[in-house]
Symmetry: C2
Subunit: 699 residues, 2 copies
């Protein structure tokens, strides 16, 4: 990679972090442009500038009442929709480029104001996507309203008693041919739509998923556009009961709501009828006239939200490690060497490196992975939209779904764990709200159970891998893996015959060794999972039972390692485009990511006889420590390359100027009422309490 | 154990949980009295009754501004101090019994209102303990004020730039013989005392730890009682700058503060002079006249707070698993068998069992462990107070410290992980504030870094074990382990020669097998850690470096497994007092705890050649799943036995009546403003937004 123009990236302020920055063996700005596309980064910077200059986005040092947070977030959303970061010229770009831009704007918003991003994603982006892909020309004017900022929607799918099992949703939409309307009903509270973001207070439209009935027959879940509130008064229409769900434990600015319908009528045309329609006479008609679009729609609806979550996870992960690494370089405690009177920065301690650096490596790998995968994904959607035969794309759609189903759990869980470890690695100061780990946690926590509960969603990935294994092993076919994520399964005989022969730590510290291990591990676990399921079936269990009883230690591990491996593979591909000292450091990051993950799966290597002697476990562990130590002098510069600006990270512990204690002091004192007597002091005075300052009370 | 009177325990309301309750093979009330001492349980119930009847303890469905939470918590503390749960008769009980009662009251308070408990623990209990153990008769009147509720204190130890490394604290207290006063100074902001609970808004006294200087010599950290606020006006005295630290990410009711001193004078007598004093002339004098008391003081100060944290962790863990297990028994999703039209309670899924039941087993084991250990601990403190020779007790004090140093990290981290897993196991509904996981998390999170950061504190346990290993292996002495937690090290030759010979899953499902494995694992890891340190020293590293570089994978694992093993051992001892069907179930819990923990350490067994074939890993994994499945029909009754009443757990998802959806509905509707239009609706109306309900806007 030739060196590129990095002048648009501001220099970092000098300060105590320079001690480590000077030790870096590479140019952090060059590395930043490995992690981020320059043009997309400029778009992000433009949005951040807007936010920083807009008083409504001023951050409060004091936690606001939840009701106020909902109000402010709604107002922030209004302003954000008016920014027009996307110029008219950009809006005319082809699908892939335009969507990538929209995703970039969302990424930049989400890492700064996650609540606003979620409100926008649910109420505008997802709405537009769904109208575009599931709606038809008859919904154009409402799509226009979404584009021009006059309509805000919500996505009403989950019900009180059903989330993952969407087939069991019980809200009904029954066609009445006499009036040519659908009549929507909620049978009982358990069928109330709930957790619907934007619904509690603000939106006027709902994208409702309900069981479509016509001529007394049920045709399953379909999507309807449902006006729910009068846009002038914001009062719900008669027949609709809307409630706000109240307090949550994060994302406080989002007004999650529940909704119940009682004989609520909407016009026939409100059915999104791209894939199926009901005629005025009440006849149900599937339409398969545009297979490519249906397929693209399916893919888009399945994956777009999850791809967004993955992007956001990678950014949140970056924020967390940035704060913790900078703090670790500045915080000193104890002496490494007792004869030295200077205390040692905690980043020098092996244990501290081991707690943080694998997450730094995951941040780097995930950032590259999700960026490259997003490009791949958007290309596929773009191509499939133009497809005339479904068959051409079913295979790649399945594989994309498998990748997403493993990566979304992997990335959100890794981010969850990293945020906690980073908060602890900053000690008590990490518990300050101004450290920002609490807010990040509040935004990350729900991602592990929404848009497909991680444990449930992950089963889609293992099921796909098991199907490929069946092809390879039992039908003697090639795996159906157009993206190549499991073509290696063909070579299962050679792979399963591999054993560990290393004797020194260098033997485990290479990308090719990691690659070899992952191939073996995935092949071994897919084989054993398959065999376990077959053996359960042979004892009389049904397929569902067999699947359920092979999740723990098997299918769910398969999903995990497949996700780890995909991220690793994408990262290695991009790595090949770099050179010089930056390449060396990026390679070290990839190696640390690989060995630290493999070490956690160590027992499987013994179980499957890949390893037969103590060396494998010993060398992997030693390898992780070596890889950590090898990154130590570069890690501050690595987070400089990964991190968004201070304004975005917004942590008193993780500022680029490195003035940790000055910043802490300022934050303490800026806190309103920091130094004042509480207004309620008289309520807590204890009558007759002795004043030990007075001579007669002298101790 | 003969059956005991269980009539004082209320029956549980009938409801949907009965389906599982009826399958239980034991009497849950009998089991409750295995987990809790009947008399102590009655004391708890009495406090809970008081709290439930006191309007100040009414819980708000709406999050209050932090300032209000601090106010309410301060008022709650006032009321709590007036309850007098401890009768005058109880107050005259001997040390052990009285302290056990005080601890029980704290446990009951902490699990219900953690913020009040922390304020009380810091401001009253710890203050009284420290005055009693480090003070002398000249501090009696201030001790009286703490007892009669007219003084509230705080503990000022941590500084902005120093936490774990207490020796580096920089606040000074310099004796001025001219006035017979100490002059306290804070050299700069980095030396400001911080994170001091009660300091931000409310307390009038501080227990200050500062470097004592007299005659221009520093004698190290000493404790002083320092009046900081006028008890009548609650204004800080001149010379003292007090600030509130502002927003945190949990424990919002606690007013953590920072404090800086400028030439602030306190009388000479304010030094707590049990162990050392400064004469009026300025001479520093150590006093070793009462060695037992000094020892007891050391022990008390080191461990009492941590023992309290462990008790609280075990209760928080119980609350978390209770909510998640009850929810799992009620929530249905998908069908286990496709031909069955009834959905399956998620507790029936193997993956869900595996996610929750090991934490249920940990809750049971920890509850018993900490209860039994507390008794042991209090007996030792009681006996050591009366001791005349330090030597008699140094060994046991060291061992107690090692146990606490491993158990506090183990229990707090396990609780942290359990709360998160339980929140996720309740899906989206777990993200409701009313589910209570958020509040539990907010109370649990700081415990992993306060009262000794887990990673730092844990090193005390491994260091102690390494010293014992050195005795055994290199000095041919017995380990110095009066409590018997590592006497088995004597038999290291036999232990290290053990290998796994099991062939069927029953081979790993016994308490004795688990015991055998832990002995091997601890011995192997202590040996390897020791050898690693020696080898680092032999390459020229100093002892400190050698220790630092043997933490990851070695010393820190040693601490972890030693903690696990101690809990297991205490549990097994208590188990021996039970019989019948209850014994069987409790044994299954102990086995699940053991195998699920051992499975996580699997690679070490291969590394150390205890296991040489795939069976060990396979059977351990299979064992965990069998142990989970074996508990499934009893687990609802087990949590009934462990759980405090609904009022205490306070979760909409975990009520004893099992009316999950009715309770959710009620909570949604009780939420103020649930159904009303927001007061700020006009601010978010979009001018010109089309009304798609009107005919002209028809889609």
């Amino acid at each position: 990679m030739a060196s590129v123009d990095v002048n648009f990236i501001s220099n970092l302020p000098p300060g105590p972090l320079d001690a480590y920055r000077k030790r870096a063996t590479f140019d952090w700005k060059q590395m930043k442009l490995f992690f981020e596309d320059a043009e997309l980064l400029k778009v992000k910077m433009q949005l951040w500038q807007c936010l920083e200059n807009d008083p409504i986005f001023e951050r409060s040092l004091v936690v606001q009442p939840t009701e106020d947070m909902k109000r402010i977030t709604a107002l922030q959303l209004h302003n954000f929709r008016r920014y027009k970061i996307l110029t008219p010229k950009m809006a005319k770009l082809p699908y892939k480029k335009k969507t990538r831009l929209l995703m970039t704007i969302n990424e930049a918003l989400a890492v700064t104001f996650p609540d606003v991003s979620v409100k926008h994603a649910l109420g505008v982006d997802l709405f537009k996507n769904t109208l575009t892909t599931l709606g038809t020309e008859r919904h154009q004017h409402i799509l226009d309203a979404a584009w021009n900022g006059t309509a805000l929607s919500c996505l009403a799918l989950t019900e009180v008693a059903h989330g993952s099992n969407t087939k069991k949703m019980r809200t009904t939409s029954t066609y009445d041919k006499n009036t040519q309307e659908f009549v929507i009903n909620t049978p009982d509270f358990q069928a109330a739509k709930c957790w619907v973001g934007n619904l509690g207070k603000s939106c006027t439209l709902a994208l409702l998923f309900a069981q479509l009935y016509t001529n007394e027959q049920c045709y399953g879940l379909h999507a309807f556009v449902v006006p729910i509130r009068d846009p002038v008064t914001l009062l719900p229409y008669p027949g609709v009961t809307i409630g706000d769900m109240g307090e949550k434990i994060g994302l406080h600015g989002i007004d999650n709501g529940f909704i119940m319908f009682k004989d609520y009528r909407i016009p026939r045309e409100n059915l999104l009828n791209r894939t199926a329609d009901v005629t005025p006479e009440g006849e149900y008609k599937s339409s398969f006239s545009e297979p490519g679009k249906i397929l693209a729609a399916a893919l888009e609806n399945l994956s777009a939200g999850r791809v967004g979550i993955m992007q956001e996870s990678s950014n949140n992960l970056i924020c967390a490690v940035t704060i913790a690494v900078r703090y670790a370089a500045l915080r000193k405690q104890f002496n490494c060497k007792p004869d030295d009177d200077n205390e040692t920065p905690i980043i020098e301690y092996q244990l501290h490196q081991w707690r943080l650096f694998p997450y730094v490596s995951a941040a780097a790998v995930f950032k590259i992975f999700i960026s490259a995968f997003t490009n791949e994904y958007l290309s596929i959607v773009e191509r499939s939209t133009a497809a005339t035969k479904i068959e051409d794309f079913t295979a790649v759609v399945s594989e994309v779904h498998a990748i997403v189903s493993s990566s979304k759990p992997l990335m959100t869980w890794t981010c969850r764990d990293a945020v906690q470890e980073c908060r602890e690695a900053c000690g008590g100061h990490g518990f300050l709200k101004s450290a920002r780990f609490g807010d990040i946690r509040g935004a990350v926590d729900p991602t592990v159970t929404y848009e497909g509960d991680n444990n449930v969603l992950g089963q889609q990935a293992s099921n796909w891998l098991l199907r490929q294994w069946e092809k390879v092993r039992h039908s003697e076919e090639d795996p159906c893996s157009p993206l190549g994520t499991c073509t290696f399964l063909k070579g299962y005989e050679e792979i399963l015959g591999r054993t560990f022969v290393g004797t020194v730590v260098q033997d485990v510290l290479s990308l090719s060794f990691i690659h070899t291990c992952y191939e073996w591990l995935i092949t071994y676990i897919v084989q054993e999972t398959y065999n376990k399921q077959q053996s359960l079936v042979s004892t009389g269990k049904c397929r569902t039972e067999a699947r359920n009883e092979s999740q723990v230690y098997w299918a769910s591990v398969l999903t995990r390692i497949y996700g780890e491996y995909n991220a690793f593979k994408f990262y290695c591909s991009q790595l090949a485009t770099t050179q010089g000292s930056m390449h060396t450091v990026l390679e070290q990051l990839g190696i640390l990511y690989g060995v630290s993950n493999l070490e956690k799966h160590c027992s499987y290597f013994y179980q499957g006889r890949f390893a037969r002697t103590p060396e494998f476990s010993l060398l992997l562990k030693e390898g992780v420590l070596r890889a950590c130590a090898g990154l130590k002098d570069n890690v501050v510069a690595i987070v400089d390359a990964l991190a968004p600006p201070d304004y975005v990270i917004n942590s008193v512990l993780g500022k680029t100027d490195g003035k940790l204690y000055e910043n802490l002091q300022a934050t303490f004192l800026q806190n309103p009422k920091a130094l004042t007597r509480p207004e309620w002091w008289q309520e807590i005075v204890v009558p007759g309490a002795p004043d030990f300052k007075k001579p007669k009370c002298k101790l």
